[in-house]
Symmetry: D2
Subunit: 416 residues, 4 copies
């Protein structure tokens, strides 16, 4: 018995429903096992992490979670139109059976989100108790060994860390008085940390505050974030690495994105847009080693694109003898399709982290994020290939540790 529970904040959203549907399809052999570094695939790659370590099989992942909208995962998936109807119908039974629990929800933080399956609770403390009960019931009913929490909810409104987030004491006092500066995402994170659970924040919402870092250290909970690195930023951190390798000078980088899903609608508000844009812009300078002067990132809501996302990048480079050259990239992608497999990787790798005694921000998981959590500010690595090296290094060390401990002992330690 070694089932791993995955509890998702935003279970009926585009990413989560694609995730649950994809796992169901793969388990039934109806879809290829593509997109995860933690899954053995067709590729014969030396130093692949799956040759070093075994991970929880897809068959053993059990999904639960919270949402305010839709009756079940199937209805959400049909609405979001990421996978086509004839594909979804093959796993309609599996998806209909997964139904979200009532969610903690704050109008202030998600003004464009509509839904009524909200938790009935009078205080933040009551909400946290409800979250905890949901997890415990889920764990017991599903016969789970360990549970990992993943935040896949809509991006919350912009928030800066304040005094209430500075220490655990201040934070808990804030909880006692329902301080509005404690966002729904933080309440979920707090609930997870209290139980010592592993946690991943796949959204750009603020959760990595000193108070909760303090709690994670106390309960020895590992966590990772933030803002999944999927389309344009993924490409940017690969292409910028190429420029670095060849010492081609980036004179300018003009990036524009169009997307037409509910994420896009959220980003149509100037405030959210600015937050997202800032997060995307930061990656470049750290990779190439100098401030790129003309770097622009634009995001526009464009309805015809639907859940698909399109990025157009123009890169102006200066080469030898000062000669200008240009690269244009047009990426026609599906945001949720790029995101879902990363969630599986994160769950499995955080599960290993927990089992091998790691806690706090898991820098080795930077590979999956636009703005990786680190212990020290300014310490983030953005170069895709350096991130890969970091992860590989960590997997090697943990594989060695697990091997010397003996698997049985580790399993016994697993307490999540």
């Amino acid at each position: 018995m070694s089932k791993v529970g995955v509890v998702v904040v935003g279970l009926h959203g585009a990413v989560a429903t694609t995730l649950v549907a994809g796992v169901a399809l793969m388990v039934k052999g109806l879809a290829p096992r593509i997109g995860m570094v933690t899954e053995k695939g067709e590729a014969r790659i030396s130093e692949s992490i799956t040759t070093l370590l075994s991970f929880a099989p897809l068959e053993d992942l059990v999904f639960g979670g919270w949402d305010v909208r839709f009756d079940n995962v199937y209805q959400g998936a049909v609405h979001h139109k990421v996978l086509p109807p004839h594909v979804l119908s093959q796993v309609e039974g599996e998806l209909s059976a997964v139904r979200a629990w009532p969610a903690v929800f704050g109008r202030r933080y998600a003004e464009n989100v509509v839904g009524d399956n909200a938790v009935k609770a009078k205080t933040f403390r009551d909400e946290i108790a409800a979250i905890t009960r949901d997890i415990e019931t889920f764990k017991e009913k599903s016969g789970l060994d360990r549970v990992v929490m993943v935040n896949l909810a809509s991006t919350e409104a912009y928030l800066e860390a304040g005094p209430v987030h500075a220490t655990l004491e201040a934070f808990e006092a804030g909880l006692d008085r329902d301080d509005p500066a404690i966002s729904p995402s933080m309440r979920y994170f707090y609930a997870a940390l209290k139980k010592g659970m592993a946690y991943a924040n796949f959204t750009p919402s603020l959760t990595h505050v000193p108070a909760l870092a303090e709690l994670a250290a106390k309960t020895q909970a590992p966590y990772a974030g933030m803002d999944g690195k999927t389309g344009q930023t993924l490409l940017k951190t690969a292409l910028a690495a190429m420029m670095r390798v060849r010492r081609l000078h980036i004179e300018g980088w003009y990036s524009t994105n169009v997307l037409g899903n509910s994420d896009g609608a959220v980003l149509a508000s100037p405030e959210s847009n600015k937050t997202k844009v800032l997060s995307k812009a930061a990656v470049l300078d750290s990779i190439v080693g100098y401030p790129v002067e003309n770097h622009q990132v634009h995001i526009h809501y464009y309805k015809p694109r639907g859940d698909a996302k399109e990025a157009w990048d123009n890169i102006d480079i200066v080469g030898f003898a000062g000669v200008p050259m240009q690269i244009k990239v047009n990426f026609l992608c599906q945001d949720s399709v790029l995101a879902a497999p990363l969630v599986i990787d994160l769950v499995r790798l955080l599960d290993v982290a927990k089992r091998t005694g790691d806690f706090g921000p898991q820098r080795q998981l930077s590979l999956f994020f636009k703005s990786p959590h680190t212990i020290e500010d300014g310490d983030a690595v953005h170069d895709l290939f350096k991130q890969e090296q970091m992860l590989l290094q960590w997997v090697k060390q943990r594989a060695a540790k697990l091997a010397s401990n003996g698997t049985r002992t580790i399993e016994a330690e697993a307490t999540a």
Copy 2:
């Protein structure tokens, strides 16, 4: 006194004239020092090889070489139109002073090349003697410490290694009877190896044959090749690495190139085209770890593009749950501008290899080539970022070796 000579086969071609012009411009402070990993630049990159090792300064590079066309480097540069007239005029004096020696030349190997500055020699042995004399005179007159040879000539007609290339004995017997299977490129390489000189083959012409590998071992000469990795293949080996990192399945990759310079005209002949295409196609499978089923590479001569080169790539990927996505890349580049700085890197790094006692194929220089020379077949690494790691590793070791030897000893050993 530590001047390094660079003798170029094809001194008046587009790459070589851009190289000589670029160095002159940089030395005069008229162009930024961009595009070389062996040159300290503005970028603050951890583990940069320039923080580990010092290289021959640009000011100490002296250029010579052979060509059949044009009176001098300035005339070649004006003809090739890589750099604009008002830029070239700033270094007209420097460029006019560099004039190619008469070249070894075989009509059979370069049917579209026109020129009359050919070496007057009746036999291959006489030609090789002429090459050797040119180098010796150059070294003496210019007061050079060491000389590196670089092949930047037009791509030769396709050739497979045969019995005459199998052993040094057979090769030298072939030289004695002017065997037409011994191409001009091989005669230059032979001359360089006899003197124990470092050598780089930046073209796809065949030079790395067993006979000459044997000679290199005997004279302890390091060499590297082949086919400089500049535009589309550079991009391909970076993007394919990204796909590998994310385990996105490449369902197809359609690449087309247009170029309008004399290289392009050469590639308009089906035979040369096929050779080039095969060389470009090989890189993908080794990076992603499985055979990519629908990989096409097309090259077309298209006059309006001139020396500029344009690549258009369409990449079909399959992601999570089997969902298809597309990436299109349009690279507007200048082939010679991408190539020239790599030649400087190769000269400097081969110079270090020679000084630290390395000889034979220099696998750590794979970063610069489409089809890197290795000792064992099938041992080539194509992933741009793994190539970078390999080079960095080697530089670290050589830096340590040079440090423990003391610089003085090494300088004394330098015999080129």
Copy 3:
């Protein structure tokens, strides 16, 4: 009672099944009425031809035809994957009911086509009799007023007109001896012309030969062709017209196409490819009024694209003071989706031509073809907007004629 029959050569192919499915969807109100100039749409365009003339309503079109493959239109449509499964299932009944009659088929002309529903006939004359019987039975059973024949079969192997095609007498003598130079397409066209039916050749296969022009004149049958103008050529004839309007000089035009359907597979053979490429290349010079020096068209079979077709065009233009500029166009289209509505337009407009007494090549229908049939060689108009003017002019005249005749008279004349 005024039903119009459409008999299709290649009824189970990608274009024809899309056509039949699209009409069924539109009639049921499940798809918008888009893509036809003969259908009243949302657009308020002055001088629209639908304001001048009424056409046979979609509800009155009845489809029949011949094919060697698949049991019925539904099976063909599912196989070709132009429309998604959940869309096709909405008209499964309608599509399953349309089943092709055994087809005339020549291995020599369609080597990659597989199928066994071939007409059992010993001689060409017997085949033609079978075609004629099929049409007559169809007309009677379906209660049709008039019937139009459309050729949507696979492109036949390249063929040049020879002596047997020179006169009707020679042609009929050829039929008598089963001359292999009389292709299947010609036998269908002959059958149609004998009955005085209107006919459209949407493929690049050769049918417009003097012998059959002679027959058309005799039986007063109008016809149009050839090679439907759908994706890249459509764009080219619009963009070239823009260049003409602005007198921008086209220095070069590089076009490449990838497609992955059975059409693409046919075009992978060098002979068919060359034919297609020549047909595509001709259009440019006639629009801009001078020979474009660097015009290249490439077509490649690329499996991942399926029925979708992708074109990439690079256009080099020279503007005022000799300054070069570039336009790049990437067209992601569905070939059959662009083609099917043109077939409806052709059927309706040829029906008007027949009713108003036009016969022979219908030059006013040039708008729909890559290589429009004309009476005199070199008389073809390729400019999309001049073609539109030509059609509009003709519609105006025919509308006037129909109005003066009175509709009743015309209906009486209809004999197809």
Copy 4:
């Protein structure tokens, strides 16, 4: 003797200097005569307007004008970097000889423009008198028959027509009190109209107000505007016409522009940007005949692009049976190079208009503008090919008129 003077507001700007340089190059035979419909070129186009009418030869155009910046046209041209240095140096003499007169200038209308060659005048009336004197002196000294004024100045700040612009009386009263609502552009236009001169407004600045239309009628002056149709909008009005011809439904059109010249800097201010964007957005609906729901136009100042301008368009279309398709266009153009020849066409055609007695807004010149002036609101034609028809029609009529009058008479009438 039949020289035509061209007086330019903004003589030292990018468009004007390119214009003057281009004419000088063409006259000296150093550049091809490309980009003008009024110039006989290599193209053999039926119904070309140059086969119908003769225009003032390039050799007879004489340039003058006003500007606040730079000493002469050569210095402006060098600064703007539209033409490369080695091209400009061929006409340095000609360009240095053309020096702007002190300009009328209002800080309020051009906040980012810097320069000190402003006219010394205390009142608007004095400024207008200075403009008039400049023109008269120019005409006399250069021995000119006729003079046309063209506005090529920087885009002025956004302005709506108010009471002072409603009648000529109100306007002249406004002039008397130096009403700030009368922009510099309007003062130039007023000066031109008072003399009955032909005038073109190539900028989006407001000049076509009722008061000045009234004056034009009185003095029988023809004029045209506004906002030259050069890059992206040119393409848009051609491609939208193609969609109309094929009745493809435009579901969305996403346009983004980057440019890095001083025009771009002006457009970086939100107010100017909005004005420009609105002007660009209007064209689509009128061409296709229905409101395009998802039409976005973005303009960004992006320094690395310099005077070159780059447009990227994504067009989502819906075809037959509701199937979506996409077109992407990337236009790498030079704004001034596209604009300059249109100015020559406008000068010549306005000269014909003046000579044949046309006055008021010249709707037949719509071909050259983003927002063509018309007599009635909502009467603008945007379709590039309908605009071409309109112009051709007018030229035919005017050619007939000129022929019946006899050329001599017309020349006698010319009074500029």
